[in-house]
């Protein structure tokens, strides 16, 4: 027993959370609610008590599984995942969450954290899948038909990516004989497959739509929790194994741009935030593609602050959904009167996402943009600058404006429940404190930081970019060019499998039907022809009613056999 403990301890905090998910089911309701909040907080303290090292090495046949690799990169992701889990579960106290959903939330966070700390690909794969399966219950817990269908589509993408990952790992293992999870690159055996798997999970363009399709269909706290883990786990995995892969720069640039357009025209404000999430992932993917120390620091710090402000924004929209029963821009407005605290926290999240000086996005995103500039990628640099101004549009202006400040739609609702306010307050506090004092976050990054965010030119240039973008919004609004919110949905790639394929099947079915009828009619004709001629041949005077000689029978049979053989091997 002690030997087992010595091998395993200290145990991967993600595994503790998964064990916690089982315990949470057994505890009485009230205790279980608080247990889900306290456990991640306790694990944060546990994480800080450990030195960077490889723990939990298990021999498995001839291979060693490293179940708990604590290095600079995994520690910062593990830490933010634990914070997100604690805040998400605190927020969920204000929502009517059943035990299944609570355990799913714990197991999901646990799977993601365990995967981050995995030192080998087998452990990584297993916990990636644990996270995928646990997370779908946060969508299904909405208990609507829409949510069920969206959850199924989500699961198909997640498991599909898992299978591709497994195929890549097997190829990699069979060629190299190594299961260590570290730098791979496209040239590594199985490298392309593994990149595709991580790419699906981090919502690369064209395989992104599982994110916008499923997340807004989850429960109120479910969406908040979902927003933190899967995609950032994939970003972590990409940063670990594909840093400096140039194609990622261009993929990331596309990712940073196209969701902005959708985020401006989408009516469901939680879906707006998932497009915005996608756009932020684009920045991180560009950073990984550039691969310099500054770019990777930028990606990691941006993932860290992004999880906080995205959760904060989704929390505020969740509170709006809880109180008003809708999250559609067309049905909201004027809520600042009755939900002033939620509005204030939302603005902090919006300012952080837009990277205003003194807010968290400012100190992280700029590292990626600066790194792109230093490496001479001027097109990418311009794209990222444009995407930054775009973020101000959808997250910075659109979300707070349409929910809280636009024309009063007559909702007279209560302020959000106190656990939600506390969770939002804590997230908002972190957004500001990181923005004002970035040094502690910088100290945790994988490489030493040689970057000063608060310089005169950087502050002024950023403010110029943002305020003139806001000016453009105001002018377009005043001269009524800015598109008013309209009910309706916008087509995205999910059209291909939700509508396109179905249409294809219906059409092909129609033609197949005609074809089938032709074949059937033909066959019936041929068969009656055969019967008729058989009747004639089998008549008293017909050929078949004669008694032929044995030799001719053998000749016939041999002939047939030859024909069959010929056809068989033709």
């Amino acid at each position: 027993m002690t030997a087992v403990a010595e091998i395993l301890l200290p145990l991967n905090p993600g595994i503790w959370l998964i064990v916690g998910a089982l315990i949470a089911v057994l505890l009485p309701q009230t205790l279980s609610r608080w247990f889900a909040v306290i456990l991640p907080v306790f694990l944060i303290a546990f994480l800080f008590s450990l030195n960077l090292d490889n723990y939990g090495t298990i021999s498995f046949f001839d291979y060693s599984l490293e179940t708990f690799r604590l290095d600079a990169l995994s520690r910062v992701f593990g830490l933010i995942f634990l914070i997100a889990s604690a805040l998400g579960n605190l927020y969920a106290l204000g929502d009517d969450v059943d035990k299944l959903q609570r355990s799913a939330a714990l197991a999901y966070a646990g799977g993601a954290i365990a995967a981050v700390f995995a030192g080998d690909m087998i452990t990584l794969f297993i916990f990636f899948e644990v996270a995928a399966v646990a997370s779908v219950f946060l969508i299904w817990a909405r208990r609507t038909e829409r949510a069920f269908a969206a959850g199924m589509r989500y699961l198909i993408f997640q498991i599909g990516a898992g299978v591709i990952l497994l195929a890549g790992l097997l190829i990699h293992f069979s060629v190299t004989g190594s299961i260590v999870f570290d730098k791979l690159g496209l040239e590594a055996p199985g490298g392309i497959l593994i990149l595709i798997a991580f790419g699906i999970k981090s919502a690369f363009p064209l395989v992104h739509n599982w994110l916008q399709d499923a997340y807004p269909e989850a429960t109120i706290s479910g969406t908040v929790i979902l927003s933190g883990f899967t995609t950032k786990l994939a970003i972590y995995a990409l940063a670990r194994s594909y840093a400096g892969t140039e194609i990622l720069i261009w993929i990331g640039a596309v990712m940073a741009i196209f969701p902005i357009f959708y985020a401006i025209i989408e009516n469901d404000l939680r879906r707006v935030l998932t497009y915005s999430l996608n756009n932020q992932l684009g920045f991180m993917v560009v950073g990984i593609g550039i691969g310099t120390e500054m770019a990777l620091n930028g990606t990691v710090s941006h993932a860290f602050v992004h999880i906080l402000y995205k959760a904060l924004l989704l929390m505020s929209m969740g509170a709006v959904l809880l109180r008003t029963g809708t999250c559609n821009g067309t049905e909201l407005g004027g809520l600042v009167k009755t939900m002033p605290w939620t509005a204030a926290f939302c603005i902090v999240g919006a300012a952080s996402a837009s990277a205003f000086p003194l807010f968290s996005g400012f100190i992280s995103k700029s590292m990626i943009i600066t790194a792109a500039g230093e490496q001479g990628y001027w097109i990418i640099w311009l794209i990222l600058l444009f995407a930054s101004a775009g973020v101000l549009y959808h997250s910075g202006i659109r979300i707070p404006y349409f929910a809280f400040f636009s024309e009063d739609k007559g909702h007279r609702v209560k302020e959000a429940p106190w656990p939600m306010l506390v969770a939002m307050g804590a997230a908002a506090f972190l957004c500001i404190i990181i923005g004002v004092f970035p040094a502690p976050l910088y100290a945790m990054l994988p490489f030493s930081v040689d970057y000063v965010p608060y310089t005169a030119y950087h502050v002024i240039n950023q403010l110029q970019l943002l305020m003139f973008a806001a000016l453009a919004f105001t002018v377009l609004k005043l001269i009524k060019i800015y598109p008013s919110d309209t009910r309706g949905i916008n087509l995205d790639t999910d059209w291909v499998y939700r509508k396109g394929l179905m249409t294809l099947i219906i059409y092909s079915n129609r033609y197949l039907n005609t074809g089938y009828r032709v074949v059937c009619d033909g066959a019936v004709g041929i068969i009656s022809e055969v019967i008729n001629s058989a009747k004639q041949l089998g008549n008293n005077d017909g050929i078949l009613s004669r008694t032929p000689a044995l030799g001719s029978s053998i000749a016939w049979i041999s002939g047939l056999l030859l024909l069959v053989l010929l056809l068989r091997f033709a």
Binding site: F261, G390, Q464, A469, L471, T474, L476, N490, K499
Partner: protein
């Protein structure tokens, strides 16, 4: 607590700081002033050149403005092409 009572009173009257059109105008004027100040700030700080074009006078301000106008117009066009009724997907199943 006192604030809350005041808030509630205001609510009953149906009047809020943001209900007053003049206040909205004040915010918009404040934005104009801030933008003008930021544009004039171009004279007063040491530029840090990443490339060459980013040191052009007012580059960040002009780029931010033009790209955002383009963004909105682009989004309008895209919406025109992509929007469907809300139950578009429900009707097939």
């Amino acid at each position: 607590m006192k604030n809350n009572v005041q808030e509630n009173d205001k609510m009953k009257e149906g009047l809020h700081w943001f209900d007053n059109k003049r206040n909205i105008k004040r915010i918009i004027y404040a934005l104009y002033v801030i933008c003008a100040a930021l544009f004039l700030a171009e004279f007063f700080y040491h530029k840090h050149a990443v490339f060459s074009f980013d040191t052009w006078f007012g580059f960040y301000a002009i780029y931010g403005f033009i790209m955002c106008v383009g963004l909105v117009i682009g989004a309008k066009v895209i919406r025109h092409l992509l929007i469907r009724r809300e139950n578009y997907y429900d009707s097939s199943s």
